[in-house]
Amino acid sequence: MALSIVGVALGVAVVVGIDLANTSARTAFTLSTETVAGRATHSLEASSGTLPDSVYRIIKVDEGFRDAAPVIEGSVRIGEVDGPVVQVLGVDPLAEDPFRSFTGGPDGGIDLGRFMGRSPGVLVAAATAERLNLPEEGRFSAWHEGQHVDLEVEALLPVDSDLDAASLENLIVVDIATAQRVLTMQGQLSRVDLILPEGTEAAFRANHMRGLPDNVTLEQSAGRSDTLAQMTEAFSLNLTAMSLLALVVGMFLIYNTMTFSVVQRRPLLGRLRAVGVTRREMYWMIISEALLVGLAGSILGVVGGLALGNVLVGLVTQTINDLYFVVRIRDLDVSAWSIGKGLAIGIGSTILSTLPPAREATRTAPSMVLKRSATETSTLHALPRLVVSGVVLAVAGVGILWLSGKSIAWSYGGILAIILAFACWIPPIVLLGARTLRPVLGRVFGIIGRMGASGIEQSLSRSAVAVAALTIAVASTTGVGVMVDSFRTTVNTWLTYALEADIYISPPGDVFRRNDATITAEAEHFIRSRPDVEAAYSVRTARVLIDNQETDLIVTEPRPRELEPGRYKATMTGDFRRAMQESDVVMVSEPYAFRYGTNVGDSLRIMTSHGPVAFRVGAIYYDYASDLGVVQMTRDRYDIHFDDPRVSGLAVYATDGKDLDGLIQDLREGTASVQSLNIRSNRDLRQASLDVFDQTFTVTTVLRLLAILVAFVGVLTALMALQLERSRELAVLRANGMTPGQVGRMITLQTSSMGLLAGLLSVPLGLVLAWLLIYVINQRSFGWTLQFEVDGVILLQAILLAVVAAALAAMYPSLSMSRTKASEALREE
């Protein structure tokens, strides 16, 4: 009974933990976007990410529109160049009142003169100031894009509620002038917030927007957090799916243990039936027992899930921060909904998996119930049916995968069907395996070996389920392992050819894949003019509106060496590289093409500084840097269409034979006084990229370990139960002259064989899962083409895991058996 509860608890804990981490992440960015949006209903934004601050003057002065406020958003690092990242919100305190209450509040006595001009004053919540160790008086250091700025705490933001506290957790508020200085956005705003009464949007567009630049658009504020949420949708869906996988394994455990608990009391149930308890009563008795087990397990699971969620939320935040945007998740957002869901899943799945044993125990005649062999006979009879069900499930699974298109949820459904199909085939395979093993074990271990193998066959109803649970658990860890490994190999290969320059230079940014920091012109000039620098090309990453979607536009100067043709997924006929130089042609990354269904030859509407321009897609290239998809344009075309001379990074080729480390040192020293830059060799950057990759998959690794743990505990409990159930049988063997050692060896042999079977079976299933994860889930989530890489070590690990878990499971029954006297064990009542 305790084992069942542990099984349920583990499954529920994983589901609840993941769910809590996901919802906490979502709550955090909803909060942070709502906090900065305030009471704004709309905002004026520009496709290029920033708009000239004259837009605000036009709205406020020329158009005389009152409820407008300028906003600058960005981030800085506190203390050191690589210190913690905080969001910066730049506002005009005199325009803020209708929008946000940061600059006011009952005790917010802010010296407006200091805040607006005299000092680089920031407003910050007390908790944030404390966490970041900001001094109460005097200046502190902050870094933006590697450039140092001094800031000073002007006043503490009033915190009225927990909601406030959470939303202000990672925020500093500064005057708009300070923000422009600190974030080097002179003359620029991130957006202009507006309050438009309902139904006046069209009128505003018609009456007040005529004098604005073409690339300024009117957006609804409410949509902003949705956009952020969408970016991480695939990421969180995958997490959820993995947690459900853990639950599937958990359900097998529950099924196993519930069956065990029914079977164990077979004699009792039989007697109850014999004395007149009706089938219905018995059925409900078993079900209500399952209900209790489910309840107890689920409650334990929720408690465990809370603990697990606390660990996972940090990892999830880390990944989101690395990949998407700066967000700080303060606390686990524990909702009744998450907990309720966990309880429902736990109790529901317990009852569901109790139905078969309950039916079995109640449907058979009382006399049969008393007999153990009855179950086994029926199991044997059921084998052909199982094989057929497996085929049906497999066909259904493939069908679902085939028809589900881009739907990730349905894809997981298909995978689940395939897993279940496999589970159906396991009992006959176990039977075959046991029969095959019997002579082998017999030859090696003699009678004990043969008896061990027979035991598996004789208790097929139990051993098959245990093997199935173990197989699925191990296979899912193998599948995820192979998938991550393949991914990593692909990225590594890609990095090798994508990073062909010697040295890479970029300003330190705050988010790995969304670094919009730029190199100062002074630093760029210095680098390009060093004698040991043979050649260099610049890269600019800008956020622009492409087909009305905010997208990263990568702008590159021609590289000295272009990519090999094999690095493109598709290209147009003719010289597309020349076309990109000379006409409005761009190329898109594979994830972009996937996300928007873009093909070579299609037209993209890119919002330039001078209004929308149609660009043709000349090629689709492989890229693993962004799961959101990027568009690439040549610098020449960019300079024609955008008023933005800045560069985000430089790739440098050293003169042949020059010492790279020396050149790096030289560049570092030369630029130090201007801007602190990340100057890395090809090798270091590749390593850094792989480090980020590994960090990204930390959550996955943790989940994999959890699945292994669940599998381990499952096997342990299942096999232990199996052996304990057989204690009477074993006692007979003891009475007939077997030594405790021999019994122990037999048990160990038996469970180890099962472990070996499971391990071996997990290899094909694991590979199938990996294949599905790579070519179905990854494709459908992100559109990446990954190479399928199988590392023998992972497979070996899987088999070893299964065998070791099984061998360990034998330990307790062996020990307890050897300690009990045979006569005692034989005594039935």
């Binding site: 009152r66 803020e96 006011g104 010296d111 407006l112 607006m116 001009g117 005299r118």
Partner: protein
């Protein structure tokens, strides 16, 4: 002159509080914001506008004015304002009183900023007050605005003359004739209340005090530079919620800049700008002290029909309150009818508010209202219109 006090009060934080800023926040000796009032402005503007006078330019003596550039801003002084009031009449005898004032206040002394004053970085804060009295409906509209004096959001330029705070605007009509202040157009709108007026001077400029240097209290530099246009022919449109009206009438312009403070015992003032039918104008203010007496720095001027000016000292003027009105918003009791006599000129006038409620419940609560004048000059009957400003009355109400 009056506004110098209004503003210096704010600046020194000794007499008035920019109230709505922070509910309950009280500066030493200042009136308290009413608790039931919504908090209009979240920032502590008083602090921004307050502080000492160190580092600023001071009005420490007579200087030759340099027009048209002196029509514009004097950013090294702490405070400055451009003030317009007037009485307007439509053809169908509907009348209005208006005030449009833009204030400039330096939040920090010159050259005291870490950053260069460009872009949005500035020392200058602008405040605007716009009010419209509509006696026909008994309604008094009052609005207030703030903006930094940067990024084109608010500012003061001359030549050509343009003072603006967002879309509230005072500007010469023809910018190509840069030297000419007039004709001058005033435009302001808020919540369906608007004025769009064109002003023309029909009398020459009046340099108040001593050639435009007007001492405000004891101590060097405790003075302002101050000039007026006492009679401006006005025509244009007034818009109120029940319609737009073509109007004509007369306006008054003051422009004053200073870095000075009120004395510690001074609690407020009564200020009169009176335009008489016989072509003369009277500007007179009295500074009230806590003990009920009148400060010796009280005074004014009498401008003759030909534009010549005579200084008025407290001894030249007799002022007596005839009637009072209590605001049900602030509880302050304001005088609304006076008897004002200049015995030396044989002038005896009754000054009466066109409607009692002309209290501006903005950051600085005060009463600024249109008045009618009737009386006698010698034996001849005399009438006129004008504007009166009353400050420091809500302080008494709240202290009691």
């Amino acid at each position: 002159m009056k506004h110098s006090f209004l503003f210096s009060c704010v600046l020194s934080g000794t007499a008035l509080l920019l109230s709505g800023l922070l509910s309950g926040l009280l500066l030493s000796g200042c009136s308290r914001a009413p608790v039931n009032e919504p908090v209009d402005e979240p920032l502590e503007l008083a602090a921004a506008m307050g502080g000492d006078t160190l580092g600023y330019a001071r009005a420490d003596g007579v200087i030759p004015f340099d027009f048209p550039s002196d029509y514009g801003a004097h950013p090294d002084f702490k405070t400055e304002w451009w003030y317009f009031t007037g009485n307007l009449f439509s053809d169908d005898e509907r009348r209005f009183g208006y005030e449009l004032t833009l204030f400039r206040s330096a939040m920090a002394p010159p050259d005291s900023l870490d950053a260069v004053e460009e872009g949005w970085t500035t020392r200058q804060l602008y405040m605007g007050h716009f009010s419209l009295a509509d006696p026909a409906t008994g309604t008094f509209h009052a609005f207030e605005r703030f903006s930094r004096g940067a990024a084109g959001l608010a500012g003061a330029e001359s030549p050509p003359f343009r003072i603006w705070l967002n879309d509230w605007d005072m500007a010469s009509v023809d910018p190509s004739r840069a030297d000419e202040l007039f004709p001058l157009r005033l435009q302001s709108e808020e919540n369906g209340v608007a004025i769009d007026l064109t002003l023309n001077a029909i009398k020459p400029i009046v340099l108040q005090g001593e050639k435009g240097w007007d001492p405000k209290g004891a101590g060097a530099g405790n003075a302002s530079y101050y000039y007026s246009f006492t009679r401006l022919e006005t025509e244009g449109t007034v818009t109120v919620p029940d319609g737009s009206f073509d109007v004509t009438g007369q306006s008054w312009k003051d422009h004053e800049w200073s870095t000075s403070a009120l004395g510690p015992d001074e609690i407020g003032w009564d200020w009169f700008a009176l335009q008489l039918d016989d072509g003369r104008e009277i500007m007179y203010y009295q500074l009230r002290r806590e003990d009920g007496t009148i400060s010796p720095y009280t005074g004014g001027s009498l401008v003759a029909a030909d534009g010549s000016k005579r200084h008025l000292s407290p001894d030249d003027v007799e002022l007596r309150v005839l009637d009072r009105w209590t605001s049900n918003v602030s509880g302050a009791e304001y005088p609304v009818r006076w008897e004002l006599s200049l015995p030396g000129e044989d002038l005896s006038l009754t000054v009466a508010a066109v409607m009692p409620n002309q209290e501006l419940n903005v950051s600085v609560r005060y009463w600024e209202g249109a008045v009618d004048i009737s009386g006698q000059s010698g034996d001849d009957p005399l009438s006129g219109v004008g504007y009166v400003e009353l400050t420091g009355y809500d302080r008494v109400a709240n202290d009691n």
